[in-house]
């Protein structure tokens, strides 16, 4: 028994026991099971040490590495709630990184200017996506495919095809720094989560999103500005992608337009789906999507701990996707429910 055991398991148990949200249960349960597996099969998985007042260890790595997908999943949750999808977030990450690195390293901008510019450009790209989906009414998969293809080219255009390195301490801090003993990225995620939760639950945005995803025709009859709402979600998703891009760039202290954020859009979509949202739109659960993102990261780290090569990691991920799909299948679900009901009846 390590000190981690005394904190982690009671917290997970309490969360599982006390959560009133059905939606949070399943991903949380999946995460707990995965962690339990590691408790017994991956020695040292839960070891934590404190160096210079900072916490280190696999669990911390999971939080730190998972930050990017968590940020993306925030934006993606909103987009998926309206029945859309954004394939371009990975490419937008690369663009944001390129603007940041180019700004600081080649143009000599201050970190604040570079960060603002990077986020601004990301939001602009989101504006483009939103325009295509909400106002030109192009299918979301198709509309965001354009930037998914062209985005990385754009990023390379900005960096002139170079991998630009930078050493600016503020920017390095962004992805590698510690705050209150924990990785700074975690603070970023929490702030964005708080902001998103505020926007969706304290304004009418959450209701509008779910209503739009549930029945857009009815929304039109009720006078709801469904188009504007859709438009906004793409801008927001791109902004989140910009932030994730800053972190990814800061992590490796350079802008690598080819590899930053590669396939992360798929991880983000997966996180939202693991979090119980349907791709057809409607209800969304920010916390569940966060847990979904952590689950995916934990899976990766688990494989890493088991000395599975990073190249083969996609295999278990594929199995997770198929399993989640089947669990939510409109054909299988009623059958599963019936099966469970039968089992319970004699009891």
């Amino acid at each position: 028994m390590s000190p981690t055991d005394f904190i982690l398991w009671p917290v997970l148990a309490a969360l599982l026991f006390f959560t009133r949200k059905q939606a949070l249960m399943k991903p949380l349960l999946a995460l707990t099971l995965l962690l339990l597996y590691n408790r017994f099969c991956s020695p040292g998985f839960f070891d934590l040490e404190i160096k210079e007042g900072h916490l280190y260890g696999r669990l911390i790595d999971i939080l730190n590495q998972g930050a990017k997908v968590m940020l993306l999943a925030l934006g993606m949750s909103l987009v998926i709630a309206t029945g859309g999808v954004d394939l371009s977030v990975g490419a937008i990450m690369a663009v944001a990184g390129a603007v940041l690195a180019q700004g600081v390293a080649a143009r000599g901008w201050s970190p604040a200017t570079a960060i603002t510019a990077a986020l601004g450009v990301s939001a602009l790209l989101g504006l483009w996506n939103g325009l295509l989906v909400a106002f030109l009414r192009i299918q979301p998969i198709v509309a965001t495919l354009i930037l998914m293809v062209a985005g990385r080219g754009l990023a390379m255009l900005i960096t002139d095809g170079q991998i630009i390195n930078f050493e600016n301490p503020s920017l390095v801090f962004l992805g590698n720094g510690y705050f209150l003993g924990l990785p700074f990225t975690l603070t970023l995620v929490l702030v964005m989560l708080g902001l998103t939760a505020f926007l969706t639950r304290r304004t009418a945005l959450g209701l509008f999103l779910e209503a739009t995803g549930d029945n857009e025709t009815a929304c039109r009859y009720a006078g709801l500005p469904a188009r504007n709402v859709k438009f906004l979600t793409y801008v927001f998703a791109a902004f989140c992608a910009g932030l994730a891009g800053l972190i990814a760039t800061s992590n490796i202290k350079s802008a690598d337009a080819n590899n930053i954020g590669l396939y992360l859009e798929l991880d983000a979509i997966l996180a939202v789906v693991v979090g119980g949202a349907a791709l057809t739109g409607g209800r969304f659960h920010l916390l569940a999507a966060m847990v979904g993102a952590l689950f995916i990261q934990t899976l990766t780290t688990t494989l890493y701990a088991a000395n599975v090569s990073a190249d083969i990691a996609p295999v278990p991920k594929a199995l997770v996707i198929i399993a989640v799909c089947l669990l939510q299948s409109p054909v299988l679900r009623p059958k599963l429910a019936k099966l469970l009901a039968k089992k319970e009846r004699p009891a």
């Binding site: 030109l136 192009i138 198709v142 293809v149 199995l319």
Partner: protein, 328 residues
């Protein structure tokens, strides 16, 4: 004068773009007009072309296949590894095609039977195929089989000769990979245009509910479409081993996007039901030509290719939107 079929407009437009690009390219770089460059344009893009034809069928049926690139890489490494273990080439090819087809059929079965989103299932397929490719062999394998070294070059099509700078006649060969692409285009076109299966795919992509009422075997057709796409991806993988004489599990990341882009630029509507296999070939050639032009230009960097493809994609999607709106 008879007005052209509106369904043909996007494909005609892409043919126009291809000719325009080529014409402008020739003005700027007279070398472009050389038969060798043109032959290579076909040969170099044959893998993408074959994969894109498979993707076109899926898109025509109203679906999407994200597993293309991974399956191509998987097949490449599978064949390279089998040949390395002394399996006869034809047996290795047959096995690879069979595995690809079964893989696609399995995805189609999941999508159809459990009403799962094609997007997620083929995403799972992509991860699975990519991972399996690395399990077969984690690095690139060079193929050093007599079949590749001696037999394959003999399959190139001799289509004339030209003279080089020294005045010596050299034969003009259509690379075997280009022959494969030609065959795939021909058979694909025939399948799409002249079989009941092909027309059923169009019908389902255009209106699944009507197709069902009209007696089209919807479930069977949809499953088979993914099987066909799996077969074509595997075939594309084979073609690539002919081209590169190696298999690499890490290759072709994002090929599915290029395949979809080629189909769309070639006039296939992403909502399904409208499109032509030869159009996809045109789309592939446009992508290849852009690549060639960027290379010829020399001082233009490779990323312009991506931006140009994205721009073309936008133009054609917009064109589709305008056409379908006018109809409605």
């Amino acid at each position: 004068m008879k007005r052209p079929d509106p369904r043909l407009l996007p494909t005609l437009a892409s043919l126009g773009v291809l000719l325009l690009l080529f014409g402008l390219g020739c003005l700027r770089f007279p070398d472009l007009l050389s038969p060798r460059v043109i032959l290579n344009l076909f040969g170099d893009n044959s893998c993408l072309g074959v994969a894109a034809i498979g993707a076109t069928f899926v898109i025509l049926s109203g679906g999407i296949d994200l597993s293309v690139g991974a399956v191509v890489a998987f097949t490449g490494i599978l064949v390279a590894s089998l040949l390395g273990h002394g399996v006869p080439p034809l047996a290795a090819f047959a096995l690879a095609l069979l595995v690809g087809t079964l893989f696609g059929t399995l995805m189609g079965w999941l999508i159809q039977t459990f009403e799962l989103p094609a997007f997620l299932v083929t995403l799972g397929g992509m991860f699975l195929a990519r991972g399996l490719a690395f399990i077969i062999h984690p690095q690139s394998i060079a193929i050093e089989h007599a079949f590749y070294a001696d037999t394959l070059p003999g399959f190139s099509l001799h289509i004339g000769s030209t003279t080089n700078a020294a005045g010596r006649a050299i034969p003009l060969l259509l690379p075997f990979t280009a022959v494969c692409l030609g065959a795939a285009t021909l058979i694909g076109t025939l399948l799409a245009r002249s079989t009941a299966f092909g027309r059923d795919i169009y019908a389902i992509g255009s209106s699944e509910s009507s197709a069902r009422l009209m007696g089209v075997p919807v479930a069977r057709t949809k499953i088979l479409v993914y099987g066909l796409a799996g077969f074509m991806s595997a075939f594309a993988g084979l073609v690539d081993t002919f081209y590169k004489q190696s298999g690499n599990p890490a290759s072709f990341v994002g090929l599915e996007l290029e395949a979809i882009a080629a189909a769309v630029i070639g006039g296939t509507l992403l909502r399904g039901g409208v499109g032509y296999i030869p159009g996809t070939l045109v789309g592939v050639l446009i992508l290849g030509l852009i690549q060639t032009l960027v290379t010829f230009q020399g001082n233009l960097s490779s990323w312009w290719t991506k931006i140009a493809i994205g721009g073309l994609l936008f133009v054609f999607i917009l064109l589709q939107q305008v056409l379908s709106k006018r109809k409605a």
